[in-house]
């Protein structure tokens, strides 16, 4: 049989009572899977890890007391419930907690981004367990703004989707709200209506309304103590009713064959094919008797259970808490209504101080982390910037460039082809040509082009411009040779309307001189342009293309406009062939 604890915030004290009872009278029930949400998950974890109940209780009482002393209760900025939980769990959980609870502890979580329920049961480390518990008890706004992560995904309180996770038919459900659960307070009411919120059935009664309000606002120690007692009594009633109380010796015997039996029962229950035996075995007197737990010890045990109460240690803790809340002048003072009212009225003045205090402590606590996160953040920011800026360049620069180069290109073409050569690329060597206006721009872009690779794309047009201008005296043949000798660094192919394929190459000629110069051939009104660079792979293409450019170039040099037209035609005729090659080469080139 599995246990399932409902999530219930500060009513978790009820679970403590139930846990005490189970530990004492039915430890065999704690061997199986235990599931829970929120406070229920914490209770389940503590049970599975076999933590001392007294510690749990005192932690819970301390938290309740902390919350109560503040005017805003647990909503006070200076009280960090999550932090408190983490602290106490860190202190209490054993080092091998994950080993103990893995596969047994089922924690119900709500995934933040789609609100779906997730039940986790495998934990790789102690931190995992802690994270899951914290995530399961994270109530947005109450505990903080950002939900914690578990395995990289943000989760919040399991109570929002499945507050009472049931693993199979034979799950004993424990809920501090009167309703349709196995162990729950049985209020004196004959209420007919109940609602089912997140799988927890809650009766619509005055008591439950009161309890509901106490989920977030802890009641005083006396009421907490009563709730704990109630949990103990309810659990005990359940155990006696189902004959689950046996002495340890009988349990040891039983555990060898009753537990397998209970597994069978579970299967029966789910298939409901054998429902009859299921019902009979589990209920009625047969089970207890059949389990062999009918010795004197067992009877003694049961008798004792009838009059049992919470263990002394726990009771003492409650007593202390009650006393500490009642004794002392300050407490007496604060109990008075007038003082309460006063503290409420003074809230507008105390709240800012509280907030400041909270922020300050948070800052101090996070200072070491802060540095790292700040560094991370700046790095991230810079990376983003460096990513973004080139892009901006790409988009900004080509526009004016291309437009301006239109004019140039034609001239370059003619210049280029009439001249040539190694010298060709030396800066400022050649005569400046037609388009003076663009020189400045062009130069700046060249610089850019030389400095970064990215920008080369952009500056394609311009360097060539410069080249052309500079190398007005160079021969085209030389250039052609240069292009034929070397492979293009980059080649651009693109299809324009009318399915004309155009391409350009960038050829690196740093053997001759150290300059990276781009050699471009612009043909016509910028619709086709070709930047050639020296690389072997493009050679093939170049050689093939060279025939046409050659003739055409000659034309260009002579009669610019006409030649342009011719070039077009040539290009178009060549299309199918060259296009394929171009594509191929593009593929090859892109990795570079």
């Amino acid at each position: 049989m599995n246990l399932s604890f409902a999530g219930c915030g500060f009513l978790g004290i009820y679970h403590v009572g139930v846990a005490v009872c189970f530990k004492r009278y039915a430890p065999h029930l704690l061997l199986d899977k235990i599931s829970g949400a929120s406070a229920g998950a914490i209770a389940a974890c503590c049970l599975l890890c076999d933590l001392p109940i007294a510690d749990m209780t005192s932690q819970l009482l301390r938290l309740a007391k902390e919350a109560r002393t503040r005017t805003l209760g647990p909503f006070s900025p200076s009280l960090n419930v999550q932090h408190f939980l983490l602290d106490s769990l860190q202190k209490l959980l054993p080092d091998d907690a994950h080993l103990r609870v893995s596969g047994k502890l089922h924690i119900s979580l709500t995934r933040v981004y789609d609100g779906k329920n997730v039940i986790v049961s495998q934990y790789n480390s102690r931190e995992d367990v802690l994270q899951a518990l914290l995530a399961s008890s994270f109530i947005p706004l109450f505990c903080g703004l950002l939900p914690p992560r578990f395995h990289g995904i943000r989760y919040m309180d399991g109570g929002f989707s499945d507050n009472l996770p049931t693993l199979d038919e034979n799950t004993i459900t424990v809920s501090p709200f009167c309703g349709e659960s196995d162990i729950c307070p049985r209020d004196l009411s004959s209420q007919l209506f109940h609602v089912n919120l997140a799988n927890t059935s809650i009766e619509l009664s005055r008591q439950n309304m009161y309890r509901f309000a106490r989920i977030l606002f802890p009641p005083d120690a006396e009421i907490l103590s009563n709730m704990c007692k109630q949990g103990f009594d309810d659990a005990l009633r359940f155990l006696t009713r189902n004959n689950l109380i046996n002495c340890n010796r009988c349990l040891a015997v039983q555990s060898t064959f009753v537990i397998p039996e209970s597994v069978d029962l579970g299967e029966d229950g789910t298939t409901t094919s054998n429902g009859r035996d299921n019902g009979n075995n589990k209920y009625g007197n047969e089970r207890g008797g059949g389990g062999g737990g009918d010795c004197d010890d067992c009877r003694m045990h049961r008798q004792e259970a009838l009059v049992a109460n919470l263990p002394e240690t726990v009771l003492m803790l409650f007593q202390e808490a009650i006393d500490s809340a009642n004794k002392g002048l300050v407490n007496w003072l604060f109990k008075h209504r007038s003082v309460r009212l006063l503290s409420l009225l003074s809230l507008p003045y105390t709240l800012p101080a509280d907030v400041v205090y909270a922020t300050f402590t948070k800052f101090v606590l996070n200072a070491p982390k802060l540095q790292k996160s700040l560094m991370d953040m700046t790095r991230y920011f810079l990376e983003q910037l460096s990513l973004v800026f080139p892009k901006i360049n790409v988009y900004y620069q080509p526009m004016p460039q291309t437009i301006k180069c239109h004019v140039n290109i034609m001239d370059y073409g003619s210049n280029m082809y009439s001249d040539d050569e190694p010298l060709l690329y030396k800066p400022h060597k050649a005569n400046v040509n037609v388009t003076l206006e663009y020189d400045d721009n062009a130069k700046t872009w060249t610089d850019c082009g030389q400095s970064t690779n990215c920008v080369i794309n952009v500056s394609n047009l311009t360097p060539s411009g410069i080249d052309n201008r500079q190398t007005a005296s160079d021969n085209f043949e030389n250039m052609l040779q240069a292009t034929a000798d070397r492979e293009a660094l980059m080649a651009y192919y693109y299809v324009e309307d009318g399915s004309k394929v155009h391409f350009s190459e960038i050829i690196d000629i740093n053997d001759e001189d150290n300059d990276n110069r781009d050699n471009q051939q612009f043909s016509s009104d910028s619709e086709t342009w070709k930047v050639q660079n020296n690389d072997e792979e493009l050679n093939r293409l170049n050689s093939e293309m060279s025939s046409t450019p050659n003739s055409m170039i000659n034309n260009e040099t002579d009669v610019s406009t006409e030649s342009n037209h011719q070039w077009y035609f040539n290009q178009q005729q060549q299309q199918p062939q060259s296009y394929q090659q171009q594509q191929k080469q593009q593929q090859q080139c892109t990795p570079e």
Partner: protein
Amino acid sequence: MLRTVERKILSYLKTSYRGSYIDIGSVVGSSDKIWTLSLNQQSTETPIVLLHGLGAGVALWVFNLDSLAKHRPVYAIDLLGFGRSSRPNFSSDAKEAEDQLVRSVESWRRETQLDKFVLLGHSMGGFLAASYAIKHPERVKHLILADPWGFPEKPSEVVQKRNIPLWVKAIAYVVQPLNPLWAVRFAGPFGQWLIETTRPDIIRKFSPILKEEPSLISQYIHQCNAQTPSGESAFHAMMQGFGWAKNPMMKRIDQIDSSVPITFIYGSRSWIDNTSGEAIKQIRSNSYVNIQVINGAGHHVYLDKSDIFNRYVQDACLLSDKYPKLSNGDEVKLATEIAQSNESEPAESAVEANNNKTAST
């Protein structure tokens, strides 16, 4: 609307059923009609009559009709003022409203010409069934109460009001004069959504038949309760405080003729106090009272563990068939006997054996 939804739900039934309006004349309103589902009418066995709970209707018995109709005629009715039956204005007096409802059931019986039957009531239907058994014990062969409402007395105010803060009392005070299911009607078009969000458990219980249309059950419940709250106001009249009966059955259970055997079927998780069953056992020490608790079932015990529930009902019916005079102390002996016979042979053969026996006698 309600009709189509009901038909869709009932299409799950394997047994053929007949739905009809039984005209019962003027009992509460001028001409009242009671919507009745009848199954296996040609059987000569003792019929069983099913009375549903508050806010429910005949279609919610969908998991029980087949199995019960195997052996005997089954009649499931929408109580007057609920479901598809007519919705007259009931008296606002607790006693009178109860009488009106019981009278409507009796008129219905007269119209359908049933002589003696097993009466099964759930929740509020259980309360009415008990009330019917007080007035017409000669008609009731066996009274089966599934998690009946309205048995325990309301505890004194002193006990109950303790520890309840003011704001809770205030809310309770505001809600009290309203009909129990006011929220469903108040929500208007969102009523169905309200049912789906507040009672997903009921809808889950029907999951085997809701493959194509998951909203069928919520539609049905919504349609049942979105109309004029006539039966509901009758219930409100019989109720006091927060769900307590004004005339609790506990006080009157001794008025039921001692020859009427009673079987209680409770769900172990149910919040309707099943200690009252034990107390009744004490009170009716010279007649047959059997208490069955179904583990893992809640208030809707006939849905949660329908198999076990059906078997318990079947057992109780068989028992009354077999032994017309059941008395105190028989239950243990007889229950085991029945259980044994059920285990050793399939239920059908048990019925046959039973038939033979009745034939021979």
